[in-house]
């Protein structure tokens, strides 16, 4: 019974990891790749680590799995935010189909204000 559960968790975890990889290939710009990746990687890894914990059923493995899940859940969102943000600020283009870019509008407005200040 436990083996079946381990198997199901590993399969589901591997599927989410596959989705993360597919997202990188299929999504058309950096923000969307990061968005897709952050969510599926954390779920995928959590499921895989839960499978290991259930398989080994040792306190040492379980506690390390929990610590690893916590670290991933703390760091992945920060990293994907920083990667998306710095790509945008360095001028990496958004996908053509993007409906609105209110960040670009605000940066443009701030730049114009700055120029006006310099004139004075």
């Amino acid at each position: 019974m436990i083996d079946l559960l381990v198997l199901a968790l590993m399969l589901a975890g591997a599927l989410f990891m596959l989705v993360a990889a597919l997202g990188i290939v299929r999504m058309p710009d950096v923000f969307m790749r990061m968005s897709c990746n952050a969510k599926s990687v954390i779920i995928g890894l959590t499921l895989l680590l839960l499978a290991f914990t259930l398989h080994f059923r040792e306190i040492g493995v379980g506690s390390r799995a929990v610590a690893t899940i916590a670290f991933i859940a703390l760091t992945v969102p920060v990293a994907s935010h920083r990667i998306g943000r710095s790509a945008y600020l360095r001028g990496v283009k958004l996908w053509d189909g993007t409906i609105r870019d209110e960040l670009g509008e605000a940066l443009e407005a701030a730049r114009k204000n700055g120029e006006n200040d310099a004139d004075r």
Partner: protein
């Protein structure tokens, strides 16, 4: 960013430093299974991490409300699972159903760690990624800029306010 009316964190004390040192030492013990040889790396790493964590302390005092945490955890787990399923559907769909946008959201949370926490949390929820946080303005990248997703962001903000025991403006 923090304004005068916010409660400031007092300067660090030896007591706080030793609590952090003990916590990080425990974490290293946990990760390495108390292997004596690992302290060659672990000793300096734990010391550096303690110093860094004291240096990077939030200038604004904050706490989590235990009841708020109990309410937040199931909400968060459920919605991150939804987030994962949502991107799975989009990434696997032959027509790639996306209508992305970078949208401004004016935060109602007070300045401080609750804002940063919100910006990080939305990265794990369905279809959203924080792009820029400046004062009370959070720019969010949405895979689908539908109104329901904007409303979900407002609901998340209410949850975070409940967790940090702060009131929304």
């Amino acid at each position: 960013m923090p304004t005068a009316d916010l409660e400031r964190t007092p300067p660090w004390s030896w007591r706080e430093a030793s609590t952090r040192l003990a916590f990080l030492t425990g974490l290293w013990l946990l990760l390495t299974g108390a292997d004596a040889g690992s302290w060659v790396i672990g000793g300096p790493a734990v010391l550096l991490a303690t110093l860094l964590s004291l240096r990077l302390r939030s200038p604004v005092a904050w706490r989590w409300r235990p009841a708020g945490l109990l309410r937040f955890v199931p909400y968060f787990l459920w919605h991150s699972l939804r987030g994962g399923l949502d991107v799975t559907r989009r990434a696997l769909h032959p027509r790639l159903p996306i209508a992305p946008a970078l949208v401004y959201h004016t935060l109602r949370l007070p300045p401080g760690p609750s804002r940063v926490f919100l910006a990080n949390t939305i990265n794990l929820l369905p279809g959203t990624l924080s792009a820029e946080l400046q004062d009370s303005r959070l720019t969010v990248h949405m895979l689908d800029a539908a109104l329901v997703n904007v409303m979900e962001l407002q609901r998340l903000e209410t949850r975070v306010a409940d967790l940090f025991a702060v009131s929304l403006e």
